[in-house]
């Protein structure tokens, strides 16, 4: 059964992404696309002629997708949270490498910014893992889901996690890595056709990845987890529709001063 879920993970992510597009359109009082639009887009991308810059560049996108899928699978299988975070970091590095491997200026700037994003959110993710460990006594996802009470003991850490969700799902105010109006999608710019589709699907997986961290805070209660995910989903979209994009340097500054302080303060509270 769990393998079916793992296999369906990109499709699930696609539905979340499609639903988000509808939600965002409604928040802007637009008609918006149908909920299945991401899949229509994928079929369209399949029809396109494949143009690649060079083979490693194209393969890195594929590798990025599969490593990301693997890390999402690891969450579903209930593995060690630290493994999952570092697997995800590895996937991210593959993408950054792909960005640097071509000569496009936009791609290079995109990679620079992806690196800054990794620098910004990765410590918080680790701290979240440490916080969950301190409360539940284990890094295993399956063990974490067996105990509860995270929200009451780690409220500030949860707030810190909330702050990095927009970075991961590329939403305002922290959508610097994509930044359409500035660098036209960043690392994505040199991809087309099938290989772009892998990047497109890895975006769906990012949704699953980051929202499953939110879900962990629900602990043993599935209802609480689902409620948290739904609430955060709505909140992230509301913030997206109420803010402009900040500069990359400002993003790192905000995360390091506010989110880091919240997380460390909370952990110190739990330890003492």
């Amino acid at each position: 059964m769990i393998w079916v879920w793992i296999a369906l993970a990109p499709i699930l992510g696609g539905l979340v992404y499609g639903g988000e597009r509808v939600l965002r359109a409604r928040m802007q009082r637009r008609q918006g696309p149908p909920i299945l639009q991401p899949f229509y887009d994928m079929f369209k991308l399949l029809d396109k002629r494949t143009l690649i810059v060079h083979a490693p560049h194209a393969l890195l996108a594929v590798a990025h997708f599969f490593v990301l899928w693997f890390s999402v699978a690891a969450i579903f299988l209930g593995w060690n949270l630290l493994y999952i975070i570092f697997l995800h970091l590895f996937a991210q590095l593959l993408l950054i490498l792909a960005g640097y491997s071509v000569r496009s200026v936009y791609s290079h700037i995109g990679s620079n910014r992806e690196l800054l994003m990794v620098v910004a959110y990765e410590p918080i993710l680790i701290l979240v893992a440490v916080g969950l460990y301190l409360v539940s006594g284990s890094f295993e996802v399956s063990q974490i889901l067996k105990s509860g009470g995270y929200l009451t003991q780690l409220p500030l850490l949860f707030a810190a996690l909330l702050m990095i969700v927009p970075i991961k799902v590329k939403k305002s105010p922290f959508d610097v890595g994509e930044a359409h109006q500035e660098i036209v999608g960043g690392v994505e710019i040199e991809y087309s056709g099938v290989f772009y589709e892998f990047l497109y699907m890895s975006r769906f997986l990012e949704y699953i990845f980051i929202y499953s961290f939110i879900y962990l805070f629900g602990g043993e209660s599935h209802w609480l987890g689902a409620l948290l995910v739904a609430g955060v989903f709505l909140l992230v979209n509301l913030v997206d529709n109420a803010t402009a994009r900040v500069r990359p340097a400002q993003m790192v500054k905000i995360i390091y001063t506010v989110a880091m302080a919240l997380a460390v303060f909370n952990l110190a509270g739990v330890l003492l």
Binding site: L23, A25, R26, M27, Q28, R29, R30, Q31, N237, L238, V239, N241, A242, T243
Partner: protein, 143 residues
């Protein structure tokens, strides 16, 4: 920022503002500047509309017997209404309706067909002028 967030949340329950244009027709406001329409019975063939038209969307074909045929290209027209204002008999010979012209199909030859027609009109005038001239000369020589 929180105000905008509240606004975005409330927008979820408000009606959407975009139009489903190709699926549903747009309601044109009254007084829309639409197609130029022509009434052949009232026309006195003064050619004023042809002369003032900025893009040259009205042309008259000169028939050999001296009459003229009106022709109008709705895809070249800019709907400014200069021709109607220039017309000595507006509302009878030439008037602006409120109907909207649809896009041209390839078969309708909005460009190529019109170029051919322009050339034909020009030639018809030249032919008519030379015919008239030669007729005059003939008349004179007969006298």
């Amino acid at each position: 920022m929180f105000k905008s967030m509240l606004e975005a949340f409330l927008n979820l329950f408000r009606p959407i503002r975009t139009l489903k244009y190709p699926a549903e027709e747009i309601v044109l406001p009254s007084g829309y500047r639409g197609l130029i329409e022509y009434g052949i019975d009232a026309c006195i063939f003064c050619d004023k509309c042809e002369k003032v038209c900025p893009p040259g969307a009205i042309l008259f074909y000169q028939n050999e017997d001296g009459t003229k045929t009106y022709r109008y290209n709705p895809w070249l027209c800019i709907y400014c209404g200069e021709c109607v204002r220039a017309c000595p008999k507006p509302e009878e010979a030439l008037w602006q309706s409120e109907t909207k012209q649809l896009s041209a199909l390839k078969e309708e030859g909005a460009n190529e067909g019109w170029f051919v027609w322009e050339e034909a009109c020009k030639q018809s005038r030249e032919a008519y002028a030379t015919a008239k001239k030669s007729a005059k000369i003939q008349n004179k020589s007969e006298e």
